[in-house]
């Protein structure tokens, strides 16, 4: 019996989706022509660049962080919402929906915090044919100074109230897009839920200053010599977004259908968001970096992965990782691993050695070729020894002993050794090692049953007072 062919089609708060890949509200969804080209490329949906009273943008308005040759690891903008008239945007939405009835078009909205203004824009967006509404409570720059965007998203009462106003009018699902610029994402999430939101999307961009020009002392992006804090996104923000997604999903008062956003650039990233419970994902920076075409691999990769794992639909694996994220106090204190270096893979860079000495617990040593373990040699001593070594260029004919030398095998004296009795299993060395699988973390059996901090506290094994201090980061 052959497995069913996997499908990417799914439903998100009642909206039928061809696939979970949406373009986030941003420059890639600025106009109808773009959105139609994106749909042709394979995107399942688009959240229209936020519509509201047209604004004037500054230039420049983007800056980015490059990391070791990789461009745009982190991206930053001080752009505002759409600079095009509301009517034009709505006409184009109507046109797109007429031509692409099966694709999802969500109208992202932001207007002044008045009930009538929201009622009005909701009505017009739905009349244009939008499949749903996304309330932009996140924009951290420019709009917040006008009492909109994150000025709303950061105040739970406003969040709840405006969501309520929108719900009074809306016939289509209402998605509240959350700002991460807040200490606990669950607070605005709960407020949106109380206000009646049908779904959430997270995260919007994170307040940032990407850098300062060391020649001119001017920050980026440069607007006539000055700058302003902007919104950070792209690969660099994914870990933050994943954490916020998990926090929302693990909180009964917050949880709603969720569209995950933040640093998604491939099917792998998207799958991680879905495993933490997201129904759809939204992409901005990756599409700005490489164009719409990236969605081809997103669909292809996800389908292949689903096929390999035997998942027929998104729902089959959505949220599967949620039970694996616990609070620290619930983790097993008796689980013990140690580092093991695989001699055959080691290239002798000794990064693990210096990392464990300076950054961890001084339990990697360079005494493999010594007669007896020598734990007294420090990195400083090792370096001083080799500084005194005198070498010359090996000349084949003159130096017979060096002619057969090969650099294909790592000399034993360069391969470090882990003192397993002292290794605390912190993992640092295996993260530092440039060779995949060269350092593995192996479980050592201590014959001890599962025991968490919580249990220790319950058994009264912990001094009174300590349990209070050990609360989570919430």
């Amino acid at each position: 019996m052959s497995r069913p062919k996997p499908t990417l089609a799914s439903t998100f708060c009642g909206i039928e989706c061809l696939n979970p890949f949406w373009l986030a509200s941003a420059p890639p969804t600025n106009c109808g022509e773009q959105v139609m080209r994106a749909f042709d490329a394979g995107w399942g949906g688009a959240v229209w660049k936020t519509i509201g009273e047209p604004i004037t943008n500054v230039s420049s308005r983007y800056s980015s962080i490059d990391w070791e040759g990789r461009r745009m690891m982190g991206f930053n903008n001080i752009e505002l919402i759409s600079d095009r008239p509301i009517e034009v945007n709505l006409q184009e939405i109507a046109e797109v929906k007429r031509r692409y009835p099966k694709h999802v078009v969500i109208a992202s909205l932001m207007v002044e915090s008045k009930r009538e203004s929201w009622h009005d824009i909701v009505q017009r967006a739905e009349d244009a044919g939008a499949d749903g509404l996304e309330l932009n409570f996140g924009c951290p720059h420019g709009m917040s100074e006008r009492g909109m965007g994150s000025a709303v998203g950061q105040v739970p009462e406003y969040c709840e109230q405006i969501t309520g106003w929108v719900k009074e009018k809306a016939r289509t699902p209402v998605i509240v897009k959350l700002t991460p610029n807040i200490s606990d994402i669950r607070v605005p999430a709960r407020a949106a839920k109380r206000g009646g939101a049908d779904a959430l999307s997270a995260i919007n961009t994170i307040n940032s200053i990407t850098g300062i020009d060391l020649d001119t002392f001017q920050p980026n992006p440069n607007v006539d010599g000055k700058s302003s804090h902007g919104g950070y996104c792209g690969p660099a923000v994914k870990p933050i977004a994943l954490n916020m997604v998990q926090q929302i999903q693990a909180d009964a008062a917050s949880v709603l259908p969720l569209s995950g956003i933040g640093g998604i650039g491939s099917w792998r990233d998207a799958t991680e968001f879905i495993l933490l419970g997201c129904n759809t994902v939204q992409v901005c920076t990756a599409a700005m970096h490489y164009g719409y075409r990236i969605v081809e691999d997103m669909q292809d990769g996800l389908l292949n992965w689903m096929g390999e794992k035997g998942f027929a639909t998104i729902e089959d694996f959505r949220g599967l990782s949620l039970p694996n994220v616990l609070e620290w106090k619930q983790l097993n204190l008796n689980y013990q691993i140690v580092a093991r270096i695989h001699k055959d893979l080691c290239i002798g860079c000794q990064l693990c050695y210096t990392a464990c000495w300076d950054g961890a617990h001084q339990c990697i040593h360079l005494d493999r070729t010594a007669a007896a373990p020598d734990t007294t040699r420090t990195p400083g001593i090792v370096e001083a020894e080799s500084a005194r070594r005198i070498s010359t260029t090996p000349i084949p004919k003159l130096d017979a002993e060096t002619s057969g030398r090969t650099n294909a095998i790592t000399p034993l004296e360069r391969i470090p050794r882990v003192d397993e009795d002292h290794c605390v299993g912190c993992n640092l060395c295996s993260l530092v090692c440039p060779v995949e699988n060269c350092i593995t973390m192996e479980r050592i059996d201590k014959d001890l049953p599962f025991e968490s901090w919580e249990e220790r506290v319950a058994k009264g094994l912990v001094p009174t007072g300590a349990s209070e201090v050990m609360s989570t980061n919430t």
Binding site: E68, G69, I347, G348, C349, Q350, L351, Y353, T354, P379, V382, E383, S386, A387, R389, I390, S391, T392, T393, P394, I395, P396, K397, L398, N407, A408, I409, T410, R414, P434, V435
Partner: protein, 452 residues
């Protein structure tokens, strides 16, 4: 300083020749250098640093390129190797730093250390910044250095940084020794060698050119200075010892290379034979190809396995069109007034391992130019003919014996380094020797003067 003409401006360049000897390894631009620098793992106690005879902190200077600290990178290089620019071009990195790079065992591509080193050095020159070192406070001590090649230059730099006067004497009109006159132009252009030494001269080294030091001159230098450094390199290239060797059209590899580099030689005739198969022979053969010869052959007594040239040099020569004739020995040179041919005999190995001429295998190769590159003598004779003092300097197989760590000879006031002590190795070995000797001399002098 006076209106001395900077070294690089003292040379006549031959544009045609320069054109034909374009860079073997083109320089990096920033877009390529930074990702390459980031590829370096920053190994602890890095094997590349150990493999470099001057022990340049390779990961250190590479990471500074990655961070955009180019002046710091150049300083890190120069601190260990004052001729870092020349070495970045002339070093056989395949058997040195890059050969030792751990990346051979990872994705098989070593970090391009030499090109990165050149990138940092070029950036320093282009910035117009001075050498990032200053002469030490004058101590009143002085050292005479014989020969202005890499060993002496490196030694002089160490001395100047410690406030010791350094006086260099060289028989040639320009400094640099083999760096300037002997390294193939597509590796190290003559101007680059001079540009580097010009910078070094900011430390206040005294140069005395076209001054040949004989035995009595040496005795005088010994009297006038607190120590003497011998960086005299090697002597003349060996002769074949066959008839016809004195004909016009017989030259040697060093003269050929020095000739085209300094612009006095711009073409060679059609058919060229190079005798010998060391790195210098390869350089000469490739030079002949690039100077216009149609047919260039290397003849060697043994097989490819026994030649002293590096493997990659051999491959390079083949790529340039040089042909190799193994197991043959020149037995005579034919010609009337000029060379017309070279008489060769095939060799075969006997049961006891020795190689002997093969009976009746003689043949003649018609050639227009014969280039000898069969090893060099040392200047040992120069020391022997000297007065009793120099007789005290211990020699071994023609090489000056030194203490490897300090460069000191058996006669304490004399130090030595480079080819005259090791029989001919790489530029970087000479620099390392010179550096150790410079430090050694300074330490030794300190002891001498503390005692008084």
């Amino acid at each position: 300083m006076s209106e001395r003409v900077p070294f690089p401006l003292q040379i006549v360049t031959a544009p045609k020749v320069a054109e034909r000897f374009g860079d073997l390894h083109p320089p990096f631009d920033r877009q390529a250098a930074v990702p390459e620098a980031n590829r370096c793992l920053y190994c602890f106690d890095a094997p590349c640093t150990i493999a470099c005879p001057t022990h340049i902190d390779v990961p250190g200077f590479i990471k500074k390129i990655a961070s955009g600290n180019l002046s710091g990178s150049a300083r890190t290089i120069l601190d260990a190797n004052i001729l870092g620019a020349s070495c970045s071009r002339a070093c056989p990195v395949e058997v040195l730093c890059e050969g030792a790079c751990v990346m051979h065992r990872y994705n098989k591509q070593p970090i391009q250390i030499a090109r990165l080193q050149r990138f940092a050095m070029d950036a320093l020159y282009e910035s117009g910044a001075p050498l990032p070192f200053e002469p030490g406070a004058e101590t009143g001590l002085s050292v005479a250095l014989i020969g202005a090649g890499p060993a002496s230059l490196a030694c002089a730099a160490e001395l100047r940084r410690r406030g010791i006067r350094a006086r260099l004497y060289d028989a040639r009109p320009l400094p640099g020794g083999l760096n300037t006159y002997g390294v193939a132009e597509y590796k190290l252009p003559l101007v680059e060698s001079l540009r580097e030494i010009e910078m070094l001269s900011q430390l206040g080294v005294d140069f005395h050119f076209e001054t040949r030091i004989d035995a009595s001159g040496l005795a005088e230098l010994e009297r006038k200075h607190d120590a003497v450094f011998l960086g005299i390199g090697l002597g003349a290239i060996h002769q074949l010892g066959v008839s016809g060797e004195a004909l016009a059209g017989v030259t040697n590899a060093l003269d050929l290379i020095a000739g085209y580099k300094s612009g006095s030689l711009t073409t060679v005739p059609e058919r060229v034979v190079v005798v010998g198969a060391g790195n210098t022979a390869i350089d000469a053969a490739i030079a002949a190809v690039r100077l216009g010869a149609a047919d260039v052959r290397i003849v060697y007594r043994r097989g490819a396995e026994q030649m002293s040239a590096f493997r990659f040099e051999y491959e390079h020569a083949k790529n340039e069109g040089v042909k190799f004739l193994w197991h043959v020995q020149p037995t005579g040179v034919r010609g009337d007034r000029v060379v017309e041919g070279i008489e060769l005999t095939k060799l075969e190995s006997t049961e006891d391992g020795s190689i002997v001429p093969q009976m009746g295998s003689e043949f003649v190769l018609e050639v227009d130019l014969i280039v000898l590159s069969i090893g060099q003598a040392t200047h040992a004779a120069f020391l022997f003919e000297s007065s009793s003092t120099f007789g005290k300097i211990q020699l071994e197989r023609g090489r000056i014996v030194i203490d490897r760590a300090t460069g000191q000879t058996s006669y304490p006031k004399f130090f030595a380094g480079g080819d005259c002590t090791n029989g001919g190795r790489e530029v970087v070995d000479a620099v390392a020797d010179g550096k150790r000797a410079g430090i050694g001399i300074a330490k030794w002098l300190e002891v001498q003067y503390v005692q008084t």
